[in-house]
């Protein structure tokens, strides 16, 4: 095979570049654990902002939780919100800048426990913004406590014998819940653990920003992700565990597109 004679220097040239980290991610090393899905989710959102050329018109809201420092990594104007209140903060921004693109980036504890009211009401008002919701079934930053999305029987530092739904309630499918509200125009669930999943997620992110341009209402994208540190697994094991346990309960796919419910059960594609 003649290809063996091709030297790397012939390939590694600017004109042959097919993928590199977007300049809308800063050069600061990410504060996330190795293999954490937050990094991919951050980067994909910034790739879309980059490709749409809307850096100067985009304002992000960072939550409390593992992604509290999102503003250190996303090279756009951002505001850090108190725990759970990102949709209210984003509402304030969007109402003052109706022509700008506004998004929140939140985890499951932030969005689906302490911030449930703000989430539901921002969705119900149909605020013209995007909510990116990373669900890893655990409170990562505080050390792996039970989250509203912790699976039945799943162990966490506050459910060391597994989540007993009789005592602690059921995991909250808030994404299906907000899909019921007339204010949401686009609701979908994605993952970022395989190349195909990341590419699908990116298309959804693009749609969430395009919807804002058209004043269509609120776009809500859940990203089911791993928390390998919290789950006490390697990143590769955690992704496998996620596929086998999280995804049956939180199946990926579109739930609502252009204001129409496309999946009542949100079954996997």
């Amino acid at each position: 095979m003649e290809a063996r004679n091709i030297k790397l220097e012939e390939i590694i040239r600017d004109e042959n570049l097919v993928y590199t980290k977007t300049s809308l991610m800063t050069d600061k090393p990410l504060s996330f654990c190795p293999g954490c899905g937050h990094g991919v989710a951050h980067r994909v959102i910034m790739e879309v902002v980059d490709e749409m050329g809307i850096q100067a018109d985009t304002i992000g809201v960072a939550p409390v939780g593992c992604s509290v420092l999102a503003y250190e990594f996303m090279n756009i104007d951002m505001q850090q919100a108190s725990h759970g209140r990102a949709p209210a903060v984003a509402t304030g921004i969007k109402r003052c800048w109706p022509d700008k693109y506004v998004f929140t980036y939140q985890g499951d504890g932030d969005l689906a426990a302490i911030g449930t009211a703000e989430t539901i009401h921002a969705c119900n008002r149909g605020e013209n913004m995007a909510i990116f919701f990373v669900n890893n079934g655990i409170y990562g930053m505080t050390g792996g406590q039970m989250a509203p999305t912790t699976l039945p029987g799943m162990r966490s530092s506050t459910t060391p014998y597994g989540r007993d739904v009789a005592l602690m309630g059921n995991p909250l499918k808030i994404t299906e819940l907000v899909a019921m509200l007339p204010g949401t125009c686009f609701v979908a669930r994605h993952t970022v653990h395989t190349p195909l999943a990341v590419r699908k997620f990116k298309k959804a992110v693009r749609m969430a920003f395009e919807n804002q341009k058209l004043n269509k209402g609120l776009s809500f994208i859940e990203i089911v992700s791993n928390c390998n540190s919290g789950w006490k697994m390697t990143p590769v094991q955690a992704n496998k565990w996620m596929e086998e346990n999280m995804l049956p309960y939180f199946p990926p796919g579109d739930i609502k597109v252009n204001g129409e419910m496309v999946s009542k059960t949100a079954k996997s594609e």
Partner: protein, 76 residues
């Protein structure tokens, strides 16, 4: 016959050794280095560069965005 050849460049100091790129690679290009970087992580490297097609799957799943991908078409 035209041949597509790829190559990746890894920012080894920012690599956290999570191995997700290794799993994502369809052509078995990547391995983890026995040595560690400044932060103590075993970092990814191209063990079989000849196999690389420049599909960018590794870079797409890399949480830390440390992989840059190049691809070139070579004619016979």
């Amino acid at each position: 016959m035209a041949k597509i050849k790829g190559a990746i460049v890894i920012d080894i100091e920012k690599c956290k050794g999570c191995e997700l790129c290794l799993v994502a690679c369809p052509t078995d290009v990547i391995r983890m280095e026995k040595k560690v970087n400044g932060k103590g992580y075993h970092f990814a490297y191209m063990e079989q560069p000849d196999n690389c097609t420049g599909c960018a799957n590794c870079a797409v799943v890399c949480p830390d965005g440390v992989i840059t991908v190049y691809r070139k078409k070579f004619e016979d």
